[in-house]
Symmetry: none
Subunit: 211 residues, 4 copies
DNA sequence: CATGAATGAGGCTTCATTCAT
DNA sequence: AATGAATGAAGCCTCATTCAT
């Protein structure tokens, strides 16, 4: 069932026991998804891990897709988008870029299995994919504004298209993180940070006398 | 599948008729995969499209994964990696980079469904993923050598780590192409080419007095 | 079947309903096996006879072999091995032998189809064969002890190897029973009993002045 | 297909090449049957072993059952029934019985896989089973005549029913041989011969003053 | 005669989902 | 709310047999 075929959204649990059971299911689902992947995970694996019965699953969720969304929602604080630093307002732009990239790679390293799951589900479920794309674009537009400001301040190559540049640089970082930590290449974070920071600065033209 | 049943690779057909049937299956598989995605495609869809019986599938392939590999093998000439141009020997480096990136985006645009399939199967099938990673790395190393040469020639920022830079820039281009043509954003090729070419040149430090 | 999929023994049912369903399946399986033979019996025949769905079979059993084992387990009280009578302590040894043999043939006559099934499955399934062999040997050793005692008491030919004799005489009786009631020769039980009893007594040397 | 559904008996090959191909198939079938058992053997395994094509099989045989019969026919000289010695005409009856039993066990030991196959096919194919039963009975009757003669000569217990005795003693030997060499117990031939010969002599009452 | 590709009926198995308790 | 047995549609896969070359 795709995300769009939402049949009957289950309300949140009303009792304390219900809250506990739902939480157990979400936690179990994360364990199972990370262990077996989204496709190979069966609902019964999840209920077994949560130590409840098959039927109970349907008290709280409508489908595997829905509990996956709940897992992601619960984990959202642990994850982040590749961040474009607010360079314009910073005293030392390079340091901000570096810190931002490092934070991203560290996060990815800690949550590699979950990030891989996101990729997998995105290739499977059109709704999830669309939602992800939308968030990515929103993020890209926020970053594009920072770039624009830096261009206006004469800090950055004025020939660059802000939005496309934003997409490109974010993509560069996320792709590298994916290869490294989801696919298992495990390149050193320091190397990743060093290269991406330098490329980013060069690409933007930071530090060149733009004017 | 028991231990003894592991591979049993089917030999190539010996008769002309067999060659024809196998080719029909591969072609049909591509059609069906592109239409329905890897997961939703059933073996019977493929044999129906190829106008042969179910059993015939097993004359040539062992599994859906295997015929997918065959589809990719047959289409490999249509695809390419984002390549580092042979700038060192070129008179107009920017023009070479631009041509190279344009070729890549054009190819991706033509084969978006197939590229998306690659991503999907990579998240599903560990073998395919490993094989893809290996090819990607081989490619990255070839590109790294080009960067090294350009550094030696004083054309490119000597502070950059060639291999990581190679991975990062290739990733930037391929991620952009994926978002645009596999995920359906359909950004104009000209915009993609313009931005990536400029970013690439800046990032490498092409055109700066390096010495 | 992969290495990891080996056994997965299904637990016994926890509810009364489950107990009933499982029992219905075992009973249905016996009916179908006796009617069609092990090989020709399909899982769907069994579930149809038990009036449940295909999937329910897999709630309780993993394979046709496994439910066959369950059928045999449920019927084990109806079957027996040709046993060595406790002659040593009996007043009329011949009468005891005769009663024992008669009981065996009568049992076999009543359960001919089941006994035939045992033979069939033993030739097909190595596990079942091994298990049967082991039980047979355990039985032969118990009987061998009886023979030994009778030898010690001077009632039986002291030259006989107890264990091999035990195997030989049990085999004689079971083979005869098989030909008669599983293969359909249907020789009169009285004739079988008379001949085997006399042969048995003669073979052991019962009644001869052994000392 | 059962043996009784004979569709179109294939005539013997007319050319020398045909004779060779047929022989190769029979030989291959024996190899495969002995290796994999009758049930698990596929026609394609046999043709592969014989290095000919699938279609060729049907030039000479109609079914797996039929080629199995051909295998048995070709091997018949290597096999034998448990023999009842023609004691009446012998000077030393015990020696003849012993020699006869020894020959049987030796034969069984050499052809254990084939004997096991016979048992397997007998439980599967009603025609084969019937044919085997008939031969067994014919043999039992021949032996019964020998017993009768010995009874008439006063050499053997006159109370024994000749035909049932013949069946019982033959069965004893064949069952023992089956357990030992088909099921893999591998008891020493000397032990088997010693016990069966002694039991046989005792059972018949050979050597007792019958008169 | 030999070849080997093609056939397709038919059995097996999984697992999301329902439902009576 | 929780339980877990029951359901059955849906795909997979095998292999004896046919047949065009």
């Amino acid at each position: 069932m795709a995300l769009s075929d939402v049949p009957l959204p289950k309300g949140p649990p009303t009792t304390a026991r219900g809250v506990r059971t739902r939480a157990a299911l979400v936690s179990a689902a994360r364990t199972v998804f990370e262990r077996d992947g989204f496709l190979a995970s069966r609902l019964t694996d999840i209920t077994a891990e949560a130590q409840c019965s098959t039927g109970t699953f349907y008290t709280y969720f409508v489908s595997k897709e829905e509990i996956f969304m709940a897992v992601m929602e619960a984990a959202k604080d642990e994850m982040m988008h590749p961040g474009m630093p607010h360079v314009a307002e910073a005293e030392d732009p390079m340091a901000v870029i570096e810190a931002s990239n490092r934070a991203y790679f560290e996060t990815y390293k800690r949550n590699g299995r979950l990030m891989m799951l996101q990729e997998q589900v995105a290739t499977i479920d059109a709704d999830f994919r669309a939602q992800r794309l939308q968030r990515g674009e929103a993020f890209a537009h926020r970053n594009a504004k920072s770039i624009q400001k830096m261009q206006d301040a004469g800090l950055v190559d004025a020939d660059l298209d802000p939005i496309m540049t934003s997409r490109a640089l974010s993509g560069m970082v996320s792709r590298l993180a994916y290869s490294s930590f989801a696919l298992g290449e495990n390149w050193p974070v320091d190397d990743l940070v060093e290269t991406t920071t330098l490329l980013w600065a060069n690409a933007l033209g930071l530090g060149n006398r733009v004017a």
